[in-house]
Symmetry: C2
DNA sequence: AGATTATAGTTAGGTTGCTAATTAAGTCAA
DNA sequence: TTGACTTAATTAGCAACCTAACTATAATCT
């Protein structure tokens, strides 16, 4: 996401602002800081998951399946919810099937369709990963009290509404 | 980064929290919200850059070169600052050289070393992209006053300090 | 000097995302 | 009932990241 490690300091930002008067220095700083911390969180999460033989893409698939009452879904529905293309989902499911965490089953109703089921191994994997993830996340966020969390939430909503400035 | 589109609602979180008592629901919500907004920002930025024929990786290389007084650097230094491996930088530089935005020049001092220079085309590309980027970012963040920006900054620092909870 | 070690850059091969094209199956309207 | 459209999943090929291994050169240490 934001690979850049060498974030601009105030001096660099001012140098750029001198050439490009549209620059809003505190907006740029806030933006880069947000991307930097989010990226580091995501990388840390991946590192944590990879100790269990998973990565975010495949982990989310297992979670989405576990959310379903019947512990099953279809590649299309999973792709939609996971926010990846169906092509990407095919690849993720290939890996999960190879590891025995999910199973593909033909749908007798609609012969185009495949039913994806969380296997006992898959559930077991989640029962191993989720407590680790949840307790680390609890610790990570421990320094934020409820007011901080609410403020963060409000600010993120404001930024989110602004994202359409990048459209078109 | 966070591909997941179907974020868990309160009910789903509670269902998971019942099975995994380590779950801190407001921590999870804040975490996912942060990743969601940051990812959407990053995707929006990429979309904006791609209208100029760039993507984040290549764009940051141009910016890093522009920060240098002599408008030049080396692949190693750029890789370090951009937060990618030297192998990845080789690929990014290949693309930028192909498009004429940077030039590779041999260093007569150290024959292992290559000097990367921002070309006139590269500078021109930045002069076209940066005003667009800066004005969109200004608009995106316009709803946040200075107090919001400071609060965001403080909260991000707290989260950042907590990231080591995912280590080891 | 000669051997070892470190550094710069690239190449090779893997992963996970993408888009576009393809194959197969279901739907619907004239 | 057939032609056009839609939907499900996959395959193929591209981009940008990774690690590991390699080549060439420079620096360092007996």
């Amino acid at each position: 996401m934001l690979q850049l490690r060498d974030l601009p300091n105030r001096e660099t930002l001012e140098k750029f602002a001198a050439r490009y008067p549209q620059a809003d220095i505190s907006a740029i700083s806030a933006f880069l800081h947000l991307l930097r911390v989010a990226t580091d969180l995501s990388v840390a999460l991946d590192a944590c998951l990879s100790r269990h033989g998973l990565l975010q893409g495949r982990w989310w698939v297992l979670i989405l399946l576990m959310r379903e009452d019947a512990l099953q879904s279809t590649p299309s529905a999973l792709a939609e919810k996971a926010g990846v293309t169906r092509a990407t989902m095919t690849g993720l499911l290939d890996g999960l099937e190879r590891d025995g965490l999910i199973a593909r089953e033909l749908d007798p109703q609609d012969r185009r369709s495949v039913s994806i089921r969380l296997t006992a191994s898959g559930q077991q994997k989640l029962d191993e990963v989720m407590p680790d993830y949840y307790s680390r996340l609890r610790t990570c966020m421990a320094a934020l009290d409820e007011r901080d969390r609410q403020q963060l939430n409000d600010i993120l909503n404001l930024i989110n509404a602004g994202i359409r400035a990048f459209d078109q």
